[in-house]
């Protein structure tokens, strides 16, 4: 959460010779990030980013407190200055009553006081601080509540006392369906469990810690105010604020947990301001209902642990000094520090590591040396079974064969999900309809890329990503690493896709792909490796072909293993034989048949197809002897004979 503070306002509580840029730098390095220091007339405004665990820094007081400790570490003088408070003693003869009934499960502390006031415009210094902080100035009565919150860090509220029926506030949980109109004139229906104030007649007169209601807020005619502080359960505040979408500064601060010890000090500060700026007269006793007093915790930290975590030897007296300067009470015992946590750090500092952080940041992160952690053990690296090695190899091969890699979204629309929707892992809160289902396949996403790039005639793209399959209950969906390819244009045909895949497989050591007709319905092929169906090629259109491969399954068979085969002693004899074959005969079957005819046939491949004629290139070789033309002739006869008989082919 960000807060904007004027330099002049900060210096009311901090006396220092440091300039604004110095303060910004010091605080950024040791406390909270000062994002910007910008001019504000003759003044400066700090934009501070305060993390959720340090609500104590969301105020001038909190920042001044940090700065007073941090600045001396950087060589500047710094001292905290006291805040002008006013002890609220009744100073009118006619005192008034105010009844507050608390619910200590909801509210930890209530402080309040009734004042007689004169409503008018706020003076410039109040307007300036509020404007710098991004808060609108309305009138002195409301402005002081915001000013006090900004200055001390405890949110507060003013009611028009005369508009409070029965002068009663009963703190309770809201019931589901109750309606309120907040002071911005918006109507809200409560979901139940919200912290509200009831006027004793069932009417809600405040949404505590978040926003006042229209029926009790100050108006132009307000003469008496109830100046009110409530310290609320942070969880409920967040739930209500988020649920109703009412995000006020007060809510944002309250949901992080505000130090209840601040309430009285803030009240006294407020009273001082009302006296100064609104001619206030105290009309009631001070109310202080404080069931949830801060129980101070003591944490024991071993100084050796401090040194071990930071990696630097810090003597115990230095740790002691640092912690004391931050407001911790410290006692030493046998190398350990017994550290008592101040109220404003109650929720943040709870374990020894939190204390170590305090010492470390004050010691100065920039003062800590820089060294690589030493090696004692390392994970054994097995390249051939490393999935990242194979993935990168495949990607690079595809790149050097001219393909471009794309990254498409894992979530897809209904139309892009291939399968019945009840099989899809579905998002409960998608951002839009185009990204609602976790995809089961890559192809539709890749085809969308093609469609997006219509002006390109020849396109070759690929992606390696997970696809997701629903699993039984109590199991995460299965994620399968998949390779998707789309080829469009001149090389957008089946044979280019097949060749690409075979070459890729070859590069990763897989040399026995088996292609069968696809049973998916369209024109294409199914790829089998060692009897496992690992992928498919689908011809989508003329000049457009897609392929999808279970990459995970494929790399199980990948290997870098190379075996040495002794070089052939005796030369090979090669020849080409052409056959006229019926269209429906598969080349693969013919090759298989030819190969069967003799063990001396070392290689058979399809050399050429021209109309009905297929030419096969055959290589004969023996390891033991030179083959004679007669021997080869014998084998050739067998080849011709079997092909003609089995496939009704005719040799040419």
């Amino acid at each position: 959460m960000d807060i904007k503070i004027l330099d002049s306002h900060l210096r009311e509580q901090l006396e220092t010779n440091a300039k604004p840029m110095d303060i910004a730098k010091a605080l950024s390095l040791s406390s909270a990030s000062i994002e910007r220091v910008e001019p504000f007339g003759k003044d400066w405004v700090y934009s501070v980013e305060v993390t959720t665990n340090r609500p104590d820094m969301l105020s001038v007081k909190g920042l001044a407190r940090e700065a007073a400790t941090v600045l001396p570490q950087f060589g500047y003088n710094a001292k905290l200055l006291p805040i002008k408070l006013a002890h609220p003693k009744k100073d009118t003869k006619d005192s008034v009553e105010i009844h507050v009934v608390n619910n200590d499960k909801l509210v930890r502390r209530i402080c309040g006081i009734v004042l007689d006031v004169d409503k008018k415009e706020s003076p410039q210094f109040v307007k300036d601080s509020l404007e710098a902080a991004g808060i609108r100035s309305l009138n002195n009565l409301v402005d002081i509540t915001n000013y006090v919150m900004l200055e001390i860090g405890h949110p507060c509220h003013v009611f028009d006392y005369d508009r409070l029926k029965n002068h009663t506030l009963i703190i309770r949980e809201s019931k589901k369906g109750e309606k309120i109109i907040t002071l911005d004139k918006k109507e809200h229906m409560l979901s139940g469990g919200d912290i509200v104030a009831d006027n004793g007649e069932g009417e809600i007169i405040d949404l505590l810690g978040i926003m006042g209601t229209a029926n009790s807020v100050v108006t132009d005619n307000t003469k008496h105010i109830l100046f009110f502080f409530d310290n609320n359960d942070p969880w409920r505040i967040r739930k209500t604020s988020m649920g109703l979408a009412i995000r006020t500064d007060a809510a944002a601060l309250n949901e992080k947990g505000v130090d209840p010890e601040l309430a009285m000090e803030a009240l006294e500060r407020g009273v001082a301001l009302y006296k100064e700026l609104a001619g206030a007269k105290v009309m009631s006793d001070v109310i202080d209902i404080y069931p949830g007093k801060v129980k101070s915790t003591t944490i024991t930290v071993n100084n050796d642990d401090i040194c071990r975590t930071i990696g630097v030897t810090i003597p115990i007296r230095q740790s002691d000094k640092i912690l004391k300067s931050l407001g911790f009470e410290v006692e030493q015992k046998n190398g350990s520090l017994m550290v008592k946590v101040p109220s404003w750090r109650e929720l943040d500092v709870t374990i020894p590591e939190d204390v170590i952080e305090e010492v470390a940041r004050m010691y100065g992160y920039h003062n800590i040396p820089t060294e690589l952690p030493p090696f004692k053990h390392a994970k054994f690296y097995h390249q051939s079974t490393n999935q990242f090695f194979w993935e990168q190899k495949a990607k690079e091969a595809l790149k050097y064969w001219g393909l471009t890699e794309v990254y498409t979204y894992s979530t897809v629309s209904e139309t892009m999900f291939e399968g019945p929707l009840d099989e899809a892992v579905t998002l409960a809160n998608p951002l839009d309809v185009d990204h609602t289902y976790l995809r089961k396949t890559l192809t539709p996403s890749l085809l969308a890329v093609i469609a997006e790039n219509k002006s390109f005639e020849n396109v070759a793209i690929f992606e390696i990503a997970n696809v997701y399959r629903k699993n039984k209950t109590n199991k995460l969906p299965t994620e399968i690493r998949t390779l998707g390819i789309v080829l469009k244009g001149k090389e957008g045909d089946f044979y280019h896709a097949k060749g690409l895949i075979e070459q890729l497989l070859s590069d990763i050591g897989i040399t026995n792909p088996l292609w069968k007709d696809s049973d998916m319905g369209g024109i294409g092929a199914a790829l089998y490796l060692d009897k496992v169906h690992v992928g498919d090629i689908e011809v989508m259109d003329k000049g457009l072909v897609t392929a999808e491969l279970n990459f995970e399954e494929t790399i199980k068979l990948a290997t870098l293993k190379k075996t040495y085969t002794p070089l052939a002693k005796y030369p090979a004899i090669t020849e080409d034989i052409s056959f006229v074959l019926p269209q429906e005969i598969k080349t693969g079957d013919v090759i298989e048949e030819i190969q069967k005819q003799s063990t001396l046939i070392k290689e058979v491949s399809l050399l050429d197809i021209f109309e009905q004629t297929r030419t096969f290139h055959i290589l004969y070789q023996s390891k033991e002897r030179n083959l004679t033309t007669e021997e080869v002739g014998e084998i050739r006869k067998k080849i011709i004979g079997s092909v003609e008989m089995k496939f009704k082919g005719k040799v040419k």
């Binding site: 590591e353 690589l372 952690p373 053990h377 990607k395 990254y407």
Partner: protein, 371 residues
């Protein structure tokens, strides 16, 4: 005989010097040195030479043969050079070459490769864990209390899958930190298994106690897709992060700074430097925010940076609760972790001023083909 030999030699050499191409030279070779070549046939007549003169004649014959062969070789070389000169004159070096194919790897892949390589060298090995993950690993085990803001609907994607009583809802992981406790569990399990195999005593084999035995050393690099419910010029609903986790004995802030400095100088260059500042994460204590000096002004301050610095990401010492969830005894072992955006460091390095981050995942070819 000698005269015949000398005359043959002169004939041959003269023809050779006249030859204007390799084909002619081959023919001359055949003519003189072939099976029925003139020199060969003449050599056959050496039987007609009287015995006492045969050695002398034979020697001369060989000399002639050698001279002819050498002349042919020489002429071949001369012709070669001439050819080159001719070819050079008809060669337009500015004409386009015939290029082999060259595709493109996505910028993200390139960045991940580089990041992996850098961390590889200091012993961080890459891992992969589920993208669709239990709330337990993404939040609970990382010390997020049940009603922490980060779990709320508006940041995290939830699935409609059934909730598990212990592991919570199934979500799309919003950060690579979900791999931390998985890695710890895995490492501990492996050590316990090895100990069982060695049947060592002294190593606590019981699953209930936290691991405080020897040899635990984790250096994990988890680079993966993350998902958050945000989409605007600087956020995409799917993005990439890389997470480092280092756990061991006496791992300290000194080591975190060491690894950070090593990465920053390796990836961005040695003229860049880094610093850490206080921050807050649920799963680290102390927590830090990391800044890197601006690549444009090199730390002096300019329009593009914050007083010379750019925010890179977060880091911290692993929270003892997280070590405990991971099954590791925080009294014996400590560690640090960091998590940064791949897109972010990519933008910071290349100075690729992409005005809309969604362009990275738009898959427009004219964009992808630039890299």
């Amino acid at each position: 005989m000698e005269e015949k030999l000398m005359s043959l030699k002169n004939d041959a050499v003269s023809l050779i010097l006249d030859a204007s191409d390799e084909k002619t030279l081959e023919e001359i070779k055949l003519q003189f040195l072939g099976r029925s070549g003139r020199l060969t046939l003449t050599l056959k007549e050496i039987t007609k030479v009287p015995l006492e003169r045969r050695a002398e004649v034979g020697s001369l014959a060989n000399e002639v043969k050698q001279s002819v062969e050498e002349a042919i070789e020489r002429q071949k070389q001369i012709l070669k050079h001439q050819t080159i000169k001719v070819r050079k004159q008809t060669l337009d070096v500015t004409n386009p070459g015939i290029k082999p194919p060259l595709g493109h790897l996505h910028l993200i892949t390139q960045a991940m490769e580089e990041i992996t390589s850098i961390f590889d060298k200091i012993g961080f090995t890459r891992v992969r864990y589920p993208e669709v993950e239990w709330d337990y690993y993404a939040f609970t085990a990382l010390n997020f209390p049940e009603n922490h803001p980060a779990r709320d609907d508006w940041e995290t994607f939830f699935t409609t899958e059934q909730t598990d009583s212990e592991k919570g809802q199934i979500i799309l992981t919003p950060h690579t930190s979900s791999g931390q406790v998985r890695e710890m569990e895995r490492s501990v399990a492996k050590l316990r298994e090895l100990a069982r195999e060695r049947s060592e005593t002294g190593v606590d084999g019981s699953k209930d106690k936290l691991y405080s035995g020897p040899d635990l050393s984790i250096r994990m690099l988890n680079i993966a897709k993350c998902y958050r419910r945000q989409s605007d010029v600087s956020h995409t609903q799917m993005f990439h992060q890389f997470e480092g986790l280092c756990v061991g004995e006496n791992i300290s802030i000194v080591h975190l700074k060491g690894v950070l400095d090593y990465f920053v100088k390796s990836y961005f260059g040695e003229n860049r430097t880094s610093r850490i500042r206080p921050y807050h994460f649920q799963f680290t204590e102390p927590s830090f925010e990391i800044d890197v000096t601006c690549g444009v002004c090199l730390g002096k301050g300019c329009k593009l940076c914050k007083a010379g610095w750019l925010e890179m990401g977060g880091a911290g010492m692993v929270h003892p609760n997280v070590l405990t969830y991971g099954g590791i005894d925080p009294k014996k072992y400590s560690g640090f972790a960091f998590g940064w955006g791949v897109e972010r460091v990519l933008m910071m390095k290349e100075g690729i001023e992409i005005d809309d981050l969604r362009l990275l995942y738009s898959n427009k070819l004219e964009f992808l083909e630039q890299f």
